[in-house]
Each structure stands twice: as structure tokens, then as C-alpha cells.
Amino acid sequence: MKKLKNLVKSKNNAWLTYAVVVIAYVIMASLRASGNLSSKMSGMLVPICAYVAMALALNLTVGIIGELSLGHAGFMSIGAFAGTSLIVIMQYNGVASPTVRLVVGMIFAAVVTAVCGFLIGIPVLRLRGDYLAIVTLAFAEIIKSLFANMYLGIDETGLHFSIVEKKFELTETGRIIIEGAMGIRSITKISTFLAGFILVMICLIVIFNLMQSRTGRAIMAIRDNRIAAESIGIPVFKYKITAFTISAAMAGAAGCLFGNNYSSLVASKFNIDTSILILVFVVLGGQGNMLGSIIAATALTVLPEALRSFADYRMLVYAIVLIVVMLTTNNPQLKALVSNFKEKFSKKKEGESAGGLANE
């Protein structure tokens, strides 16, 4: 009985998290299939999955490795553009099945973003704290600038590419893919809730199995005490970059899913505001707490929509909610108040159960 209690109490209980996600998916999918879901809510299902996956990815960097990244939207951007470009190319080349296009696109997005994550991680992870944060922000801005000034097109002669100006002409049957600041347009919306659900589950499994492995142990040791970790032979950089690369790959896949949910995709969407949005999910849900990230990402994506009735005031309310939640969860006096209350409540419960056991 005690073991089960500990299991449930454990913050990062993997199985509880899997259960919550699976149940949520089943409920939402059946609601939608039976026509009981508003079109507004239906339209939010894929973005929620994408944001949840992004939050999980960022939590791996912020909560597990323990480094602040202010530029994770950059990884989302790489995944979105790389994945969507490939999907458009596949469509142009006659790949009919949307499922195949989406799956291949998302895998490609993950791989490309992983490589970029690795390359970016090499300089970034050499820095500490706020300097690391600023460099991630810098990279995200660079990525945004590059995609907003990139031109990619395809026709019978193959792929054409240029930067800053469109330096090529396409034939009549050709299709422009990335058009500078206008991004990618006329996207066929092939992202599905099922794909989003699978992505979230994959992210969860990878993260939980990583945390409960020697890699996770090493990373948490590094985060707790880097110098001690080095003294027992743990190669700090190797583990940091491994987790960072995985985090980037997940963000990339999420970006691709996100990108194929709308008919157009622009680089300016993946700016610092988006990075911060995801960061808020992670901090509100609790660093290192995956279930928390899922709940926060879902709630905060739905909240602005739910607050639509407030119309112009909703972002203001959002800001106030943010400030109030941070104050009540971090201010010592307020925290003590809450924990006293909790103690009283649990003591009562323990008293009852102890009495119960004694009677067995």
C-alpha cells in the first residue's frame, strides 16, 4: 500500500503521464468522431499537440539539463521549414498519400533539426547561465532572419535555391516553395490529431526512458553538481549535447506538425514571443515535470480562446494570471500558507488510514 502511495506521489511518474495522455486522446478523438466537438476546439487539437511536444522538448533542456534556452522556437522553425519543404517536394513529385508525406516529413524534420541542434549546441553549451540563454536567443533570431530571406523552388530541372533575392526563374509547371518573407504558402493541411498524439507519446517515452537511465542519471548529476560529476568521470559536454540534440529533434518534429496544420507558414511566427510562450509552459508546469508541461501547454493554449469573451482584455488577463501564479507558487509566505493547509489535510487522512490498518 505504501509503495503504491509513493508511486503516485512521485512527481514524474511515467505511467501516470502516459495514462493521462492516452485517456485524453481517446476522449477527444471520440468526441470529435461523434460530432460533439466544437469546430473551434477541433481546430485546436493539432496546435495543442505541437505545443505540448515543444514544451516537452524545452523541458528536457530547461528542466533536465538545467540550462535556459530562449530560442527554442528556432528549432521549431527549422523543423517546420525543412519538413514542410520536403512534404511539398514529395507532393510535387506525386507522392499521393498524405500520411506518408507527413510521416516522412516529420522524421526528416527531426533529423535535420537534430543535426542543427548538434552544431548549435557545440558553441552554446560551452557557455553558462545567462550567456547561454542569450546565445540561444541570438541563434533563433538568425534562423528567423535566414528563413525570411530564403528562396526555394522546384521544377522539372530540379531544386533552385537562393538567399536574400530570388535569383532563379521557375518553369510554368514549377512550384515556389519558400518565398522569402512570405514563407511557404498553399500548404495542404495534412497534420492530424493522431499524428500529434503519436508525437507526444514518442517524446514522453524517449524522455522518461532517458531520465530513468544512466544518461538521465549523469545529466541530473551534472545539473546538481558539475564539478563532482567531472570528478567521478562523467563527460559533461557529451551528455549535455546528447540531451540538447534530442530536445532539438523533438522541437523540429513538432514544428513540422505545426506547419502542416495551416495553409501558410512564415518565419516571423517562430520568434522570441513563441520561445517565451513555450518557456512559460515549462516553468508553470514545473521544471522536470513532464505531466506539468502537458497540462500547462494545453491549458494555456486553450485559455486565450476560452477568454475570447473578454475580447480585448484577454491578453491582459493572461498576463495577470501569469504574474499571480508565479507569485503564489514562489513567494515563501504564500507557499508556507499552502503547505500548512496541505499538512493539516494529509494528517487527517493519515490518521484515518492508520486507524483503518490497525483494524485489519
Binding site: V135, A138, V164, V283
Partner: protein
Amino acid sequence: MSFLNYLVSGLSLGSIYAIIALGYTMVYGIAKMLNFAHGDVIMVGGYICFFAVQRFGFPPIVGVIVAMALCTCLGIIIERLAYKPLRSAPSLAVLITAIGVSYFLQNSAQLLWTSNPKVFASVVGDGTIQMGDLVVSHVTIVTIIVCIVIMLVLTAFVSKTKMGKAMRAVSEDKGAAQLMGIDVNTTISVTFAIGSGLAAIAGVLLCSAYPTLMPTTGSMPGIKAFTAAVFGGIGSIPGAFLGGLLLGIIENLAKAYISTQLSDAIVFGVLIVVLLVKPAGLLGKAVREKV
């Protein structure tokens, strides 16, 4: 336009960044937090001056003073309400709260003043001076001069006055400073007050040089100035100046000689390269961890 022209206007832009960066770096050094809302205080300063001058008809200098006064109060209020309760909280929590404050300011501005751009009339008029081949606007010159004056005054303040010494003590060791009888709360409030007052000046100068004013006006300059502060070595006042000025010059030269669209990317690229070579920033001190 000549190289010198670009240099001078880059210096002017950099001066604005420097003034903003000062606010970031002082608050970081003394209160050990990243005040994400700082960029938005700039915007508020711009709006206050705009209304004082263009709606209520006050002379520009009064507009600037009113903006400074009100922003200073705003800074202190924000500190007391949102940051002080989180003095012992993890830095990420404070950062998120600061982000909340930033959104609050931006959205309040949007509600109060709409997102229609306001045309800001320069506080020093539209005149220009001819210096040889150079045509320099009054705004540019005033901006640079104001920046230099602020630098001198602030450096003197921090090194010569009692409050300045208190600020330095708190930035070194908050606990020890408190034990030595320094009122840490007042010191931190003064820091925010100074930073916010400077933000108001920066807002006025920014809008004088780039006359459109919107609720999001402070956002990008805020990010760039924050970058400049880190670039120069976060926590270092001379670092904020150097970082700000260099950033402005690099940005302008990149716009002029390489590409306008890619200028941001280039600026951030330079930052990354510098931090790789000097991980603690140009004038930052690498703090050695005691083993």
C-alpha cells in the same frame, strides 16, 4: 552616404541601446534578475512624452521630465509588487514574472492607446547640422551627447556617492551588505528607479529618431539592448556602454554595407562569435568557482 555618416548614426543608435542596456545591467548586477519588462518601460516613456507634448501642449523638455518621473515611479511600483516578493525564488521564476509584467505593459498600452502607430515629434526638432561632408540631424547629436553625459554621471555616482557604494556592495554580496547595515530594499528600489528613468530618456530619444510609436516599440530594442548588456559583460556598467555602442555601430554598418534584411542576423552572429572568444562578455569577469 559616407562611411562616416553611417558610423555616426550607428553611434547614435548605439547610444540608445547603451542607455537601455544600462538599466538591464544595473538591475542584473544588483538585484540579480533579468528584468524582461525593461524594454516596455521604454515604450511607456515614449507614450507619456507623446501625450504631454502633443496632447497637452507642454514644451518638449517638460515632456521628457514628466516621462522620466512617471517611469521612475512605474519602475519602483513594478519592483515592489512583482519582484520583491520573489527575492528568494529561483531566477527562472522571476524571469517568467518579468515576462508577465512585460505582457501586462504591452497589452495595457494597447488597450489604452490602441495599436495604431502614433507619430512622435522629435523632442529636439528636425534640424540638421552640416559638418563638412557630413549631414547630421540634431537628434543624432543630442542622443550621443546625452549618452556620454549619462555615462559620466552614472560612473561618478556609483564610485563616489554613498548610495553608489551601497549598490556596489549589494551587487557583490547581498547578505554581507545587509549585515553591514545597508538597506538592501532601498538600494534595489533606487536601482530600478534609475534604470526606469533612463529607460524613459531612451524611449524619448528612440521615438525622436524613429518616429512611429506603438505598444510593441520597446520590444526589439529591448532585446537588442539586453543582448548588448550581455555582450559587454552583464553586471558591468562600462560593459553596457561598450556593448550598446558597438551593437549600434555593427547593426548600422551591416545594414549599409551587407544587407538590410540580414542585418539582424549579422548583429547576432557577431555576438555569438564574441561570446565564444570571451565567454564572460567583453568586459565581464569570469567568476572562478571555488573547488
